[in-house]
Amino acid sequence: MSEKKNWMPRWFYQLASPRWSYEIMGKLLPGFAIAAFLLLIAGTVWALLFAPSDYQQGNSFRIIYIHVPSALLAQSCYMMMAIAGAIGLIWKMKVADMVAKSCAPIGATMAVLALATGAIWGKPTWGSWWVWDARLTSMLILLFLYLGVIALYSAIENEAMAAKSAAVLALVGLVNIPIIKYSVDWWNTLHQPATFKLTERPAMAPEMWLPLLVMVIGFYCFFAVSLMMRTRNEILVRERRASWVKELVEKQ
């Protein structure tokens, strides 16, 4: 009678096992690391040496190859942190909490990178390091949300309580993501509109956006590497009393 419908894929349940997650991430790590390394090197050389300069902005345009990937990643990472936090809240899945916790420092550094490169790019282009514009302000709020999540994790000793509070904050802050995305359409802004849209071809020449695409994919691979490293660390710490961790340590 109580036949529960199995609508979640098998890997979803397996992810609930810290040991299985630790091992699968260990297997995935080298591939992503190689991909990240090659894509970021190739993308950087392409961006700095071979991409044409912009007819208006000149060579300061090359900052886009850092700015756009880091800004995209800062937002994707936030969404991942909120979703993982929600999974942790709903299904009490410990690994999801660990993923959410591991997202926060990476996302915060990406938000810093996006804001810093934006400021550096703004100086020669707009004549100012900073303007209180909707896109810039909402991006600054994203950084503060990350810092809030990190602060909650360090302030609350009880792991389950910390994860719960951080997940709630992350979910509430999720409202900021569409604001960042549409800020350039909703308000008058100095910031240029999105480079990549799912529905249209980029307005930029392919010689310009192809290296950008390489950099974006490279940044995502780098994110996967850093996130899996942090999550694996988190698993080791929290499962330190488990026999599989002891066996693993003994082998070393």
Partner: protein, 59 residues
């Protein structure tokens, strides 16, 4: 190739400071995000090894 000479490449048409500063910060951020968890792992494992030895001795 978008540049005629190496000094052109460094100068970036007068925007060298902005471009190189951006790429330098990016490099630092990427390296931190890899090195930091790697060092963390080393510390965690050495702590676990020490604790395991202590437990084995007390048995």
């Amino acid at each position: 190739m978008s540049f005629d000479s190496f000094s052109d490449f460094i100068a970036m048409g007068g925007h060298g400071f902005y471009v190189w500063l951006s790429y330098a910060i990016a490099l630092v951020v990427v390296v931190i995000n890899i090195v930091n968890p790697a060092l963390q792992k080393k510390k965690i494992v050495s702590n676990l090894v020490r604790r395991l030895r202590r437990e084995n001795k007390s048995l």
